[in-house]
Symmetry: C2
Subunit: 212 residues, 2 copies
DNA sequence: TAGATAATCGAATATGAATTTAATTATATC
DNA sequence: GATATAATTAAATTCATATTCGATTATCTA
């Protein structure tokens, strides 16, 4: 009856990757459907066979990226290593994921301003399906959750006396900011590997919070 | 002969401020001339009396913001306080400027992706005057300079034995990233004042680099 | 007051981008 | 092989936005 996707056909996932790439290069608003389509040798019209519209597509990219990092971070939080080692690993993996999945990573962390803005008041007479609104809100909730994972570990470290009594939200945001910033400047083939960068940043994060 | 700007007329600076506001809210690409014009009770057409075009206007915003921070930071670098105190002050002022000049600050630090992109290869068939290209490159040079100011102090601190031997570029970028991230989440009237936030972040920056 | 120029606007232009539609091609299953 | 459906496209539609232009209004200097 139904036809299965042909092997040579471009699937949803391929498009998402391409979109992530373009997103990283051009930013949310500057990314056009044609840009994305070209990347996978399709026409813009074809994309609508896979995604309802541009917002849906781009949001899917962001969701994917965010989920990926969370998947990496989450197990660490729930493991039974010390808070210090937890934090080190979390920062390390956060940064590493950003450098490895440059596209997805950068998109995930970065191009959220227009979305946040939409949240605030939906400026231009943009029509957004309820479905989109729901997904977008879920995305923001996930971002919250991502931050909460860090806060939890910081809290734990303070309670166990491994960390000094920092202002948890501020410290957490600073660390995440430093990590995310990597997505802004990182270029493959630079002086340091993603690994090396991740180590260095993780080290700084720990030093900033270690109890005296 | 020539007529001087009338008092009630909207001047270049007012427009720049308004543009910075919109820029912070909507991002580079999503910012329309009409948005900016409305903010100062003008029509989009009127803006062209003050600025050649959109790029010129937005670039002027970014330049302004960047210059402002540099003006704050520069004297500290050249003062004769200790590297530790220099760094603390620099971070503090960087963050403080971001929170105070929310608009300018955020715009300055943030909406650079499209510009960088333009730099890379000028995707869409965009026509950009030589003048614009020059200004844009100068802007990027200033950004470099801003970072160099930090690196210089870090270097000095290492040489004087106040700081541990960090990887200077990575540490510097991390600090700047953490600072800039404030522009992403800071909202006026939150739990902490800009001052308080600035202090906390500066403190973390120092702890991360202090010699053991 | 007159003349010059600044500042502004309404309307027209041009263009780029998202999205829709109807048609075409490919491939799975029967 | 027949047919239903997936995948894709070219072309048309719609709409928002940057930008231009000519006209209008305000205010300065002489």
């Amino acid at each position: 009856m139904a036809r299965k996707p042909a092997d040579q056909s471009v699937n949803r996932d391929t498009i998402l990757h391409a979109a992530a790439d373009v997103l990283r290069r051009n930013g949310y608003e500057a990314t056009t459907m044609k840009d994305i389509a070209s990347e996978v040798n399709l026409t813009a019209a074809s994309l609508y066979h896979h995604f309802r519209n541009k917002d849906d597509l781009l949001l899917a990219v962001l969701e994917g990226g965010l989920d990926l990092v969370i998947q990496k971070i989450e197990p660490i939080v729930n493991s039974d290593i010390s808070p210090t080692e937890k934090l080190r690993e979390m920062v390390r993996l956060h940064v590493l994921t950003l450098t490895h999945n440059t596209a997805v990573g950068a998109a995930m962390i970065f191009e959220i301003r227009p979305l946040m803005n939409l949240k605030a008041s939906g400026r231009n007479g943009s029509h957004h399906s309820d479905d989109f609104i729901v997904k977008r809100d879920a995305f923001f909730a996930q971002r919250e959750y991502f931050e909460i994972l860090f806060r939890r570990v910081v809290q734990e470290g303070i309670e166990k006396g491994e960390f000094r009594e920092v202002d948890i939200p501020i410290y957490t945001k600073s660390i995440i900011g430093a990590n995310n910033w990597v997505a802004v400047w990182y270029k493959e083939g630079g002086r340091l590997s993603g690994e090396a960068i991740a180590e260095l940043i993780a080290d700084g994060a720990i030093r900033a919070i270690k109890a005296d």
